[in-house]
């Protein structure tokens, strides 16, 4: 027969004593930590984690989904074949394509108009996954498209083909260096591997 187990209560003895009640050891311990940080940061700034945006920019992961770009073939022509896959899959309905016939018949169609309304885009990356021709990518690393004008966010085909176009009217044109795959690993992992 099993008796019901008494729920065991763990009693933690309170650390007592007059000095501890005066908070002195705790205060000295705390001061040691704050002073260490203080002097380290005043002398060398070695612990400072601030990134002085917008002068400095955080490096982003290579998988980061930034602003879209349209890739080109080796002969410089747009890779997109106007198959409407991306426009169909887009949950935000932000892509607008109008197809035209290709004069040299190397492919059937090409996009005469390829507009992305970046204000509607939710940066889900489904268009990139859907594309059968690797024609649309989100690897520009541009994450800040701040602007005071709505029209700035309507990206046309030619703007999207040129990742860092001069026509880019955003206030903070940001082109941070993407990290390499190795750098992007969490630091603890890197330590374990090394």
């Amino acid at each position: 027969m099993q008796t019901a187990k008494k729920p065991s209560v763990k009693t933690v003895q309170r650390q007592g004593g007059f000095l501890i009640d005066l908070y002195l050891p705790a205060i000295i311990g705390g001061l040691r930590i704050t002073l260490r940080h203080f002097f380290r940061n005043v002398i060398t700034q070695s612990d400072v984690v601030t990134i002085s945006y917008p002068e400095q920019k955080r490096r982003i992961s290579p998988r980061w989904r930034g602003r879209h770009r349209l890739t080109v073939r080796e002969d410089g022509f747009i890779k997109c074949v106007a198959c409407y896959m991306c426009e169909t899959v887009c949950p935000a309905k932000c892509i607008h394509i109008e197809a035209g016939e290709m004069p040299d018949k190397s492919v059937e169609k090409y996009p005469v108009v390829f507009d992305i309304d970046e204000l509607r885009c939710v940066f889900c990356g489904l268009c990139v996954e859907a594309c059968p021709k690797d024609a649309i990518r989100m690897d520009t690393g541009i994450y800040s498209m701040a602007s005071t004008e709505r029209v700035t966010f309507d990206y046309t085909r030619n703007m999207l083909m040129d990742a860092h176009a001069k026509t880019d009217k955003t206030k903070f044109p940001s082109t941070p260096l993407p990290l390499t795959q190795e750098e992007a690993l969490p630091q603890s992992t890197a330590k374990l591997a090394g």
């Binding site: 001061l31 940080h37 002085s52």
Partner: protein, 365 residues
């Protein structure tokens, strides 16, 4: 030329000059700079850079312009009076917070006297009692501001302030009686002079920290509470009562309260330095130069006075810094913890300190 010298000998003129130089040139300046330094030092503790964006063209001065920016901003803000507030009391309350912190400087010596010229605004013979009287007045600024605001949180802050300051003044006074007994005077200039006497053939100075170490800790704790600094800043505990007694203030009056806080930090540091760290004294520096273990270096009186003023200012600044670092080290006490610490720990300790001091003095006399 003679006339100018004659005018300079009038005590009133001397006093006015001293007030201008000491209070405007040192206290106000340091208080103002501390408002920025607090933010810079806290960011160093917290691994940040701190304010550095205010600029004129390309010049930022590592954030120095934030002082001016803050000042201009607060002056240009609307000065609101809440509905139902006691208008007159509401408008003058910040001054009550401000003046006590400045009045303290009347009896703080900046350097030793050269002949008949003293570097102390007035050397009244009840100096320490005066300091106590004046710092206690600081409570009125908070209580009036909180009471006149017609706001529950402000009133709570005011009540907290008054109960905290009253509790902590008790052992603050008791802890200093040890100093009175050791040096046998309450005149500030005498206390500072006596801290330039030595044990062991002029080896260890009889600074307050060495003669009354326990009293120093009690006094410094009490003074932190008097200045409403962390960990004793329940009167303005943000998470509980928003901003406490100055909750309703805006614009220039708000910045008067803020500046009063920093000026009282400087005042607290100066009082601590004066009573426990030899005031303007540098160890082994006498009015005629250095003397240590038979070696001596003669110095002209002006150089000695400059060294002493430098030593006083340095020590005061170190304490300002320490008080600010303590703020960014410790969390705020609960209110019952504050009371507990004051009445149950510090008060008995200060009494014990008194008894032991009396016994030692009796036995060694």
């Amino acid at each position: 030329m003679d006339m100018i010298l004659d005018i300079l000998t009038i005590p009133l003129v001397q006093a006015v000059i001293k007030i201008l130089v000491f209070v405007l040139g040192f206290v106000m300046a340091v208080g103002t700079v501390l408002t920025l330094m607090e933010r810079k030092w806290m960011s160093a503790v917290q691994d940040r850079i701190g304010p550095n964006r205010a600029n004129i063209g390309k010049f930022t001065g590592h954030g120095a312009l934030h002082i001016a920016a803050d000042g201009v901003k607060s002056l240009l803000k609307e000065d609101t009076v809440p509905a139902g507030a006691d208008r007159f009391l509401y408008l003058i309350a910040p001054l009550f917070s401000y003046f006590p912190a400045i009045l303290v400087w009347a009896v703080i010596p900046f350097a030793g006297p050269i002949g008949s010229v003293t570097f102390q605004i007035t050397d009244i013979n009840t100096g320490l009692v005066f300091i106590f009287a004046v710092t206690s007045l600081g409570v009125y600024g908070a209580v009036l501001g909180g009471y006149a605001s017609n706001n529950k949180y402000a009133l709570l802050g005011a009540i907290r302030t008054s109960s905290q300051m009253l509790s902590y003044e008790v052992f603050l006074g008791l802890s200093l009686i040890g100093i009175f007994m050791v040096y046998g005077t309450v005149q500030v200039s005498k206390i500072v002079e006596l801290q330039n006497t030595y044990w062991f053939d002029g080896l260890i100075p009889k600074w307050g920290i060495f003669t009354q170490p326990l009293a120093f800790f009690l006094f410094f704790t009490g003074m932190l509470a008097e200045a409403k600094r962390q960990p004793f800043d329940q009167p303005e505990g943000e998470s509980e009562i928003i901003a406490g007694y100055y909750l309703e203030y805006s614009g220039a009056r708000f910045s008067a309260y803020m500046l009063a806080e920093y000026v009282s930090i400087v005042a607290v540091s100066a009082i601590t330095v004066t009573l426990f760290f030899g005031g303007y004294q540098i160890p082994w520096l006498f009015p005629d130069g250095f003397h240590l273990l038979g070696y001596s270096l003669a110095l002209p009186p002006v150089v000695v006075a400059l060294l002493q003023a430098g030593s006083f200012i340095t020590k005061t600044l170190i304490f300002c810094w320490l008080i600010i670092i303590i703020r960014w080290t410790l969390p705020r006490f609960r209110f019952d913890q504050t009371m507990d610490l004051g009445w149950k720990k510090m008060l008995p300790l200060s009494m014990a300190n008194l008894v032991v001091t009396a016994l030692v003095l009796l036995l060694t006399a």
